[in-house]
């Protein structure tokens, strides 16, 4: 026992009466050294996505489940070799979950619980918890009753909760799927009612949804797929190539402490006026852009090549036709908010909400896609920090809004955690000089860092 003791960790019930969980991602691989409470795996249950910390210190010897796999509570998922010298865990009594030599199959629910009765299905089929009740699932694995001849003095056991896993033909009823699976289906555009579930009691699993989405996407050659470039993809490609090769692009970056903006947002959100609208950082950015354009009209202008011997000219626009790059199921489109500079913050928020909803639904009218004078691309929604955006053809500037997130920041000579985001401005150097581009970017940043400055515009 001096070296190489193997400890098995079985999937615990992390949420009062759960019976299974899906392995999302392992944070460790075989051979890795782990310490007690180091996160080893992310799982998703019907209630929550959760990280599991290691109960042992040692070396990962085996991983039993792979990502995407759904595992029953009580099933061993990892073996950790412990027992090297100085290991603080070595002398600890083995926890009741560690069933040495247990088969990696479903274990009785109780054995994972150290004898607790919380979480067990009651005779009424409900599961008692500390915060209320959850409905008992039919798949709880219970200890087997001993068959006994003769009459039992005890009351009859609860009605067997198992329900045959055969196809349930009732397709007009709400299909059986966990909330995360429903969400996935929605994201992938899969209609759950059209699927037969392969899970327990015909429940639709993540795999079912993925499979359906895949088969819908392509007929399938191995390892690659070819998608003809049509419509939107083609238009996007043409616009990007023409822009990138005609307008000489310059991109500048600036990181901003947007904590004051987020605070303002918190305050506004509780007001009656803003309660119903989505007040995202993008709305504030749109407002800041419209204000800052007043000081630097060059970014709201466009370059026109002179035809037939005429001089080229720069067209300055009085109003801001604000394009918002939107990811839609069909691809990238840039619908416009008309006369954005005349709108109040709330009106901008409403316009943005409408624009996004319309774009997502794929019903943006073509007229809304043309005649822009400035574009914002919100790469932050993808969790990305920044990028070098390419101009929308005909426009002279585009602003990329990065992810808004906490970051170390120096305040009054002290390191503090602040809410920070990165801005990137690309501009057409034929129209906009470095000075103007820089001023505009600095103005937008200043407005986000200190929204009170808006009063000075």
């Amino acid at each position: 026992m001096v070296s190489g003791m193997r400890q098995t960790f079985a999937l615990p019930d992390v949420g009062e009466g759960l019976t299974e969980a899906e392995i999302l991602a392992w944070q460790v691989s075989v051979g890795d050294t782990v310490s007690v409470n180091q996160i080893i795996v992310e799982i998703e249950t019907a209630k929550a996505a959760v990280e599991l910390p290691s109960p042992y210190a040692g070396t990962v010897a085996e991983l039993f489940a792979s990502p995407g796999q759904t595992v029953a509570v009580g099933t061993p998922i990892i073996v950790i070799s412990t027992g090297v010298e100085g290991d603080p865990e070595r002398s600890d009594p083995a926890p009741p979950t560690a069933e040495a030599g247990a088969e990696p199959t479903a274990q009785p629910h109780d054995t994972a619980e150290g004898g607790t009765k919380i979480g067990e299905v009651g005779p009424d089929g409900r599961i008692a918890t500390l915060v209320g009740y959850v409905s008992g699932s039919g798949t709880v694995v219970r200890r087997r009753r001993v068959h006994r001849a003769g009459p039992l003095t005890a009351p009859p056991p609860p009605t067997p909760p198992t329900v045959p896993a055969a196809e349930s033909p009732v397709r007009d009823a709400v299909p059986l799927a966990k909330p995360p699976v429903r969400k996935l289906a929605k994201e992938l555009g899969v209609d759950l009612r059209a699927l037969a579930g392969s899970g327990p009691r015909g429940a639709i699993t993540r795999d079912d949804v993925h499979a359906s989405a895949r088969s819908a996407a392509v007929g399938g050659t191995t390892g690659q797929r070819r998608v003809p470039v049509r419509s939107l993809r083609k238009a996007t490609a043409a616009a990007m190539v023409s822009s990138a090769f005609t307008a000489p692009h310059v991109t500048e970056f600036l990181a901003v402490d947007v904590t004051p903006m987020m605070e303002l947002r918190e305050r506004l959100r509780t007001t009656r006026e803003f309660r119903e609208v989505k007040l995202s950082p993008l709305v504030f950015t749109a407002k800041a852009v419209c204000l800052a354009i007043r000081r630097t009209p060059e970014v709201n202008a466009s370059w026109r090549d002179g035809s037939a011997g005429e001089d080229a000219e720069i067209v300055f626009y009085d109003r801001v036709q604000l394009g918002i790059a939107a990811a839609t199921p069909r691809g990238l489109i840039v619908p416009k908010i008309r006369d954005a500079d005349t709108l109040s913050l709330r009106e901008l928020a409403e316009a943005l909400g409408e624009l996004t909803a319309t774009a997502r639904a794929g019903i943006t009218p073509p007229a809304d896609l043309v005649g822009g004078t400035f574009t914002i691309t919100n790469v932050g929604v993808f969790g990305v920090d920044t990028g070098t955006p390419i101009l929308n053809p005909g426009e002279s500037a585009i602003l990329a809004l990065g992810a808004v997130k906490p970051a170390p920041w120096v305040v009054d000579g002290q390191l503090a955690v602040r809410t920070v985001c990165q801005l990137a401005l690309s501009f057409d150097h034929r129209v906009v000089d470095g000075e103007q581009g820089s001023r505009f970017l600095a103005d937008v940043a200043a407005l986000l860092a200190d929204p009170g400055l808006a009063l000075s515009y």
Binding site: E16, P95, G115, R145, T419
Partner: protein, 390 residues
């Protein structure tokens, strides 16, 4: 001037509207604070005298309390994720509210917790290992509520407000209240959440204790969420202002400020001991983790909100104050950190070694005496239990 049932109602001024909004977003103007999030002392002539005795040693002790209960909380949370506890209720973020209130208590005072008050339990001398049984499902609470003057955890929301009011009435009847001397007087403190304020039991406790002057401090930890329900679904006025409608005093304190919470709770308890109870304290704080380990807060609240509250961390501001104002050395912080790791290891070892209780325990530990009906139920249950394999 708007008219309401024929009475002229003045329209709220813009200032009043803004004050109301700030009150639910930031704590508002009436928030009692002695230590800012940046660790600066804030002057407050009303409550400062109540912590005049808190010198650097006592401040260190408060810091240590908070670090230790946070560490124990994190370890218990991990133990749940490792299958060792059925559930855990995290206190993360509420350390100052609980330590401030807990350390304000005198030995003779009585406390009624809900289920998240691990920090108050600590102040009552209950070892964190004692809390594990309830969450592992092996006992119903093992500490002696009389000896520790800390009632067992109450899961039924708001119910303890009735128990506390009743207990406080007993203190009154026993003549422990109103003689003006805090040293001998007694008070009761009752802990509950913002969600609990919507419960009938809390209302009844407020009404009863108000009209009978019961010596009870109602300590509401407004952590902004009742599972997935935000504060705005519980109230349209700042919670501490509700006290006025019942006819007693209400104070809103920065629940992430251990000094202010200590001061305000000491004051409130003394009001009660001298016959001026009840008092409502709203400790304005934030639940930094999930409601329980069964909950996933990312489904209903924004990560930004959490980031905002990280800046108001209750422990960090004391640490900064100790360093800036008292020149505290790194050595002290390292010592406390090491001590907290030792505590966590002890908690873990204890949890893993907890014996599995016999099934009859559920019958033997609820009522003081048995009854024929209970005996019959127990026998039936044991027969049923033994009909399983193993």
């Amino acid at each position: 001037m708007a008219s309401f049932l024929g009475f002229a109602e003045p329209e709220p001024t813009p200032q009043q509207v803004i004050a109301g909004l700030r009150a639910t977003a930031e704590g508002g103007e009436d928030l009692v604070q002695l230590l800012s999030p940046e660790g600066e002392r804030v002057t407050d002539s009303r409550f400062e005298p109540w912590v005049a005795d808190v010198d650097v040693d006592r401040l260190r002790a408060l810091y240590r309390d908070m670090v230790l209960v946070r560490r124990a909380d994190r370890e218990a949370n991990a133990l749940q994720r490792q299958g060792q506890l059925s559930i855990w209720v995290p206190l993360l973020g509420q350390e100052a509210a609980q330590i401030g209130a807990g350390r304000a208590l005198m030995p003779q005072d009585m406390a009624f917790p809900s289920y998240r008050e691990h920090g108050v339990a600590w102040c009552r001398g209950i070892d964190p290992t004692e809390l594990l049984g309830i969450f592992r499902g092996t006992d119903h609470g093992s500490w002696d509520p009389h000896a520790t003057r800390f009632h067992l955890y109450t899961i039924v929301i708001g119910n303890q407000c009735l128990n506390a009011t009743g207990y406080a009435m007993g203190q009154r009847f026993d003549g422990r209240v109103g003689d003006g001397e805090g040293e001998t007087g007694e008070a009761t403190i009752c802990f509950f959440g913002d969600g609990a304020t919507s419960q009938g039991d809390v209302h009844e406790g407020f009404v009863w204790s108000a009209v009978y002057d019961a010596p009870v401090v109602f300590f509401c930890q407004n952590n902004q969420w009742a599972i997935s329900e935000p504060l705005e679904r519980q109230t349209r006025v700042p919670l501490y202002q509700r006290a006025r409608g019942y006819g007693f005093l209400g104070v809103r304190v920065d629940g992430n400020d251990v000094l202010a919470t200590l001061a305000v709770t000491r004051w409130a308890l003394q009001e009660c001991r001298t016959g001026n109870g009840p008092v409502l304290i709203e400790a304005f704080t934030y639940r930094m983790d999930a409601h329980t380990t069964s909950d996933d807060p990312s489904r209903y609240r924004l990560a930004e909100e959490l980031e905002l509250w990280k800046l108001k961390d209750p422990i960090e501001r004391v640490r900064v104050n100790l360093v800036r104002t008292h020149g505290e050395s790194q050595e002290f912080f390292d010592e406390v950190a090491a001590e907290s790791d030792t505590l966590a290891a002890r908690l873990r070892a204890h949890c893993l070694a907890m014996p599995k209780p016999k099934p009859e325990r559920i019958f033997s530990e609820v009522y003081a005496q048995s009854s024929p009906l209970l005996d019959a139920q127990r026998d039936e249950y044991l027969a049923y239990h033994s009909s399983f394999e193993e």
